[in-house]
Structure formats: structure tokens, C-alpha cells
């Protein structure tokens, strides 16, 4: 198995200065944006994006062309780049921001041209200080060259980009929470309807919210054509995708591959196998929100649909391998603690439920579990996500609450013995 290098080409070819504009331009950077602005039309660009069949890389996997097509008419429209990458296991946007920020800016220019947008925001999580510096520097350089600002590339078109720093809230990755945050409010997800930011988004104006990787793919798609992109990968999961591999593997890292191989092949080849030749006990196929797979399910294909058909999700493309020695209850507790900490507190089932789940799992993990705890866990889970089905039913405004349920249903379905073995049995005297 080999990588297919599109998005990570420039940074690999030019490790010394891939984040600087001179290096980017030397390698044909901004030529696609320039050609687009001077020679193409918004409709043509949208057609190419639709033909590429690219689906959003943030987690939900929504078709990008369809999203762009939704954008309502208005004098003020905005593009917001979601660079609030915080899903545990994910570090793919970080490399794109840090090592090739101009590719993102070029994608933004093309996107804004297609959607007739004059102002874009890049919302970067606050903990990504260094990536944010690189992006800000890149934005300054693009302004100096006249690729941003007034009359870009000598055209009639104006475009401004503002780099905005978040302040440590995972929930701001949820697009309506992100918009609230960008408006200077608490990062609480908005009650739907309105369902789509493309109709009512930032300041209640039509807004495109797209992931860093999605928009970074735009220059390649426009340069080579949507059809070419569509040929890569498999139907429903076209193009390349950057997977973040971590956990007990020999070679953790970001790998850009065409979707369609199995997780097992991915880990064995690019990942270099599991450390110390151990076996996989369980793995997470798409970030902390995704239900786990067992070690005997490594033949599942890495496509959005294959993973969904096996009752999990490819999500943000974060693959976390857990070897045979992993204490899965502690692992689940870590994930549940994450969601308990990141719950915004608006909805009771999530705010109270995640805290309860954390407490019960902590009790079990530290050997103080009670026999009744297993049913209690399931009961709390059921209150957050009735029926414990996949995709989850919701009792909350956003999917954060149900995400905390995922690792517990995985534990209960596949590793119940391990949980029960940690609960001391009562000795009758």
C-alpha cells in the first residue's frame, strides 16, 4: 500500500520553506487561483467541485458541492474555515496549516470566487499557536502580493481573510457553535432550525463553513478537474484523504491515501504494524466520537460508507490503535472524561449524563465498581441516546452527548467480560 500525494506534495518536496509564499509560487502556487479569477466563472468552479464528488473532511462527510449549492443569495455572505481541529486522535489539519498554509489560502480564494464571497475567516483553535502564526504570516504575504485585499490579481474582485483564534473549546468544532464563538458569544451550538449556516450563518447571513482539508483540496481539483479527482478512491469516498494514525503503532503520523484499503493493511504497511508485535485489541476508526471496532475487524475498508455500514463512522479520519494490553475501561473513561469536560452545558442529558458516565467508569476502573454499575451505565447512555442505536438518536441539540455514549456501547457489546472482570464480586460471610 502506497500513499497518493496531492495535498501533501508541496510540503514534502520543499520541507525547508513550504510555508513561505516564494516557495509556494515557485511550484506553481496561486497559478490556479489566478487563472480562476481571470478566466473562469463561478458556475464552472461549482461544477468541478460537484463533479469531484468530494465530501467534507471535518467529520460529517457532507458533499461539498451540495453545501456550496445551498448558499442563499445575499449581499453579505461569508466563508468560515473550520480549523478548530480538536477531535481526539486528529492532527491532520495541523500539518496543512503549519506546513502549507498557502494551499489553504489559494483554496479560499477559489471558493470565495465561486460563491461570490468577499470576507473569509479562518477559525483556528487557540492551542494551535504555531500553526496560527504560520497562517497569519501566509495571509500577510498574500496581501502584499495582491492576492488578497482589493482588486485581487488585478481583477474587480475584493477578498479579505481574518485569522481568528479560538480559546479551548472542542464544541466550537460544531459549526453553529463555531459561528456563535466567532460572533463573540459562548460557543454553544444553535438550536435548529435554521438548519443550514448556508442559509443563516454568521450574523444570520448565508455562510459556508468548510474544513481545512476540504478547502485545501480545492486548488488540486480545479487545476486537474473534478473528473480526475473523482477517479481517485472509490465511489462515495473519492479523492485522497489524510488519515491521522496514532496509538500503539510503530509509525504514527499523517498519511495521505486513497480511500478503499482496509484498516489492517493501512496499519501493517504505512503504520509499520503494532509495537512489539502485539495484537490489536480494539481500534477507533474515526476519532473519539466513533464507536470502536474489535481487533478481528481489521478487514473493514476505510471508506465513509463501509465504516458506516459497520455501525461506526470515518469521522475526522483519526485512527487510534489499542493493543492487547490496553485497559479498555481506562481508555473509555478517558474518552468520556473528554466529552464531560467539553460539554457546553446547554442540554441536561449531555451535561449531567457525561458527568455520571465519567464517575461510574472511574469507579469501575479503580476497582470500586458495583454489580449494578453496568446497568446504570447503560441506563444513563439510554437517556442521552435512546435505544443506543447507530447513527444515534438524539436528546440533545448537537451530537456531543451521543458521542460520549459510543465507547461505552462498544465496551458493552464487545468487551463486556473485561468490564465485569474489574468489578469485585461480593464475598458472603
Amino acid at each position: 500500500m502506497k500513499e497518493t500525494i496531492l495535498l501533501t506534495k508541496h510540503m514534502r518536496d520543499n520541507p525547508e520553506d513550504s510555508h513561505l509564499i516564494d516557495s509556494y509560487e515557485k511550484n506553481n502556487g496561486y497559478s490556479t487561483a489566478k487563472k480562476t479569477i481571470l478566466e473562469s466563472s463561478p458556475e464552472k468552479i461549482l461544477e468541478e467541485i460537484k463533479a469531484s464528488n468530494i465530501r467534507g473532511r471535518g467529520g460529517a462527510g457532507f458533499p461539498t458541492g451540495v453545501k456550496w449549492g445551498f448558499l442563499a443569495e445575499d449581499e453579505d455572505r461569508y466563508l468560515v474555515i473550520n480549523a478548530d481541529e480538536s477531535e481526539p486522535g486528529t492532527f491532520k489539519d495541523r500539518i496543512l496549516l503549519e506546513r502549507d498554509p498557502h494551499q489553504l489560502i489559494e483554496g479560499i480564494i477559489i471558493t470565495c470566487f465561486s460563491a461570490n464571497i468577499k470576507e473569509a475567516f479562518i477559525y483556528i483553535r487557540g492551542e494551535y499557536a504555531k500553526p496560527a502564526r504560520r497562517v497569519q504570516q501566509a495571509v500577510e504575504q498574500a496581501y502584499q502580493k495582491g492576492y488578497l485585499g482589493k482588486n485581487i490579481f488585478g481583477s474587480e474582485i475584493n477578498l479579505d481573510i481574518v485569522v481568528h483564534l479560538g480559546a479551548g473549546a472542542y464544541i466550537c468544532g460544531e459549526e453553529t457553535a463555531l459561528l456563535n464563538s466567532l460572533e463573540g458569544r459562548r460557543g454553544e451550538p444553535r438550536l435548529k432550525p435554521p438548519y443550514f449556516p448556508a442559509v443563516k450563518g454568521l450574523y444570520m447571513k448565508p455562510t459556508l463553513v468548510n474544513n481545512v482539508e476540504t478547502i485545501s483540496s480545492v486548488p488540486w481539483i480545479i487545476e486537474n478537474g473534478g473528473e480526475e479527482y473523482n477517479k481517485l478512491g472509490v465511489e462515495g469516498s473519492t479523492g485522497t484523504r489524510i488519515f491521522s494514525l496514532s496509538g500503539h503503532v510503530n509509525n504514527p503520523g499523517n498519511y495521505e491515501i486513497e480511500m478503499g484499503s482496509s484498516f489492517g493493511e493501512f496499519v501493517e504497511t504505512l503504520g509499520g504494524g503494532i509495537r512489539n508485535n502485539k495484537k490489536v485489541k480494539a481500534y477507533i476508526p474515526g476519532g473519539a466520537s466513533a464507536p470502536w471496532f474489535r481487533g478481528d475487524q481489521l478487514d473493514i475498508k476505510m471508506t465513509i460508507d463501509d465504516v458506516a455500514n459497520n455501525n461506526s463512522m470515518l469521522g475526522s479520519g483519526a485512527v487510534v490503535m489499542m493493543d492487547e494490553d490496553t485497559n479498555l475501561v481506562s481508555a473509555a473513561k478517558s474518552i468520556v472524561s473528554f466529552f464531560a469536560h467539553e460539554s457546553c452545558g446547554q442540554c441536561t442529558p449531555c451535561r449531567e449524563g457525561t458527568t455520571w458516565l465519567e464517575m461510574i467508569l472511574d469507579r469501575i476502573a479503580s476497582g470500586r465498581g458495583r454489580t449494578s454499575d453496568i446497568n446504570l451505565l447503560l441506563d444513563v447512555c439510554d437517556n442521552i441516546s435512546p435505544g443506543l442505536s447507530w447513527p444515534p438518536k438524539m436528546t440533545t441539540i448537537c451530537p456531543l452527548g451521543p458521542s460520549a455514549v459510543s465507547p461505552i456501547t462498544s465496551l458493552m457489546n464487545d468487551f463486556r467480560d473485561e468490564v465485569e472482570s474489574l468489578i469485585p464480586t461480593k464475598v458472603l460471610l
Binding site: K130, G184, P252
Partner: protein, 204 residues
């Protein structure tokens, strides 16, 4: 106590970047954090006047986000990740060692105001687990021993600018990806070392 002219000028530039004033609230709170090491009552008053919202509204936002500290922090904010990839790669031992060295519980600051310690959720360095941030500058692949060495180094040399690359070279190990070129930019306070600045002068 109030904000000096330089800071106010900077604040006004930031406000100009946005279609609506209130959007500048987040960046202004970062500015306040970089000034005092926490969000002081004084800053809340200044920001509420600058943005045109009440002090309670500012406070409500500032307390929502974990990076805006409500109490003074030390010179160095030590954030050790405890999320899943770090957790299964022994981050709890890193946390123990840092706590042992500093004598701090979660979210505590020492009397000399040198260190503030916190165990944090995912910082996007999962391929380089376990990971640590000092004033939001990342170090990856930190062993428990190197965590102590890092703390000792900070205590002895007290660098004014905390540089990720420097720390990575001396105290780091496995990385999420190749960092490539050396970068000597860094952080000078317990706010992220980032400022929206020149863009304003170019646009509008």
C-alpha cells in the same frame, strides 16, 4: 491599572477587522490574558466598553473558554494532554512527574508564580503522544524523565520566549509529523503566542 495607549491601539485595530464589534471579544480576551496572565476585572471593564456590551456579557464569555484563566497564572503554563492517544501512551506518568516536580494539583499555581499546571484534553499531537504544551507551544513524545528535565530547564533558565522547536529538540521524542524547518517563534505569556496585527494595516 487600566490598559495603556499601546494596548488600546492594538485593541482598536483588532476590532476594525470584524464586520461587527462583538466578534473581537475573543481576541481581546487573549490580549487581556497576555497582559496580566489572567482575565482581570479591570480588563473586563475595558473590553466591555470597547465592544459595547455589558461586563456580565464579557464575563459570561470569558468563563466559557478554558484558555481564558480566571486566576493569575505562573510564568509558564504547563499543559499535559490526557486524551485517548496520550492516555494509552502513558501520559498519566508524565502528569505524575510534573505534579511531583511542581507540587501542584490540577489548575494550581505555585507561590513564586513560576508554574501553573493543568491536565488538558486533546491538543492535536496524538501522533507524538504523550504531548505537553508550555504556554501553548507543543512538545511531542515527552517521556516522564524528560518532563522533569523540561520543568528543571524552565526553572533554571527562565526563558522569556518559549520556543516549541527548542523544547522539542531538547526534551521531545516521537513527533506527529516532520516539523521540517527550524522555527524560533514562540510564546511570551500564558496566552497563545499569536497576534492579529498587520492584516489591519493592509485592509480597510
Amino acid at each position: 491599572m487600566s490598559w495603556d495607549d499601546k494596548l488600546l491601539k492594538q485593541a482598536k485595530k483588532i476590532i476594525k477587522l470584524y464586520p461587527q464589534k462583538r466578534s473581537a471579544l475573543g481576541p481581546l480576551l487573549h490580549l487581556a490574558q497576555s497582559k496580566d496572565g489572567y482575565i482581570s476585572d479591570d480588563s473586563i471593564t475595558v473590553i466591555s466598553e470597547l465592544v459595547g456590551i455589558t461586563e456580565v456579557q464579557v464575563k459570561s464569555v470569558s468563563t466559557f473558554y478554558s484558555m481564558y484563566k480566571q486566576e493569575p497564572t505562573g510564568k509558564y503554563l504547563l499543559s499535559v494532554c490526557k486524551s485517548i492517544s496520550c492516555e494509552i501512551n502513558n501520559s498519566s506518568e508524565v502528569i505524575n512527574k510534573v505534579q511531583e516536580f511542581t507540587g501542584l494539583n490540577n489548575n494550581e499555581t505555585d507561590e513564586e508564580e513560576l508554574f501553573t499546571f493543568e491536565a488538558v484534553e486533546c491538543i492535536g499531537a496524538c501522533g507524538g503522544a504523550p504531548a505537553v504544551q508550555v504556554n501553548y507551544e507543543t512538545v511531542e513524545g515527552v517521556t516522564p524523565e524528560n518532563a522533569i528535565n523540561l520543568c528543571e530547564w524552565l526553572k533554571e533558565t527562565k526563558p522569556d520566549v518559549v520556543v516549541a522547536d527548542e523544547m522539542q529538540e531538547n526534551f521531545g521524542g516521537i513527533k506527529s509529523f516532520d516539523w521540517a524547518i527550524q522555527d524560533n517563534s514562540g510564546a511570551t505569556s500564558t496566552a497563545p503566542g499569536f497576534q492579529t496585527l498587520k492584516t489591519t494595516e493592509v485592509k480597510k
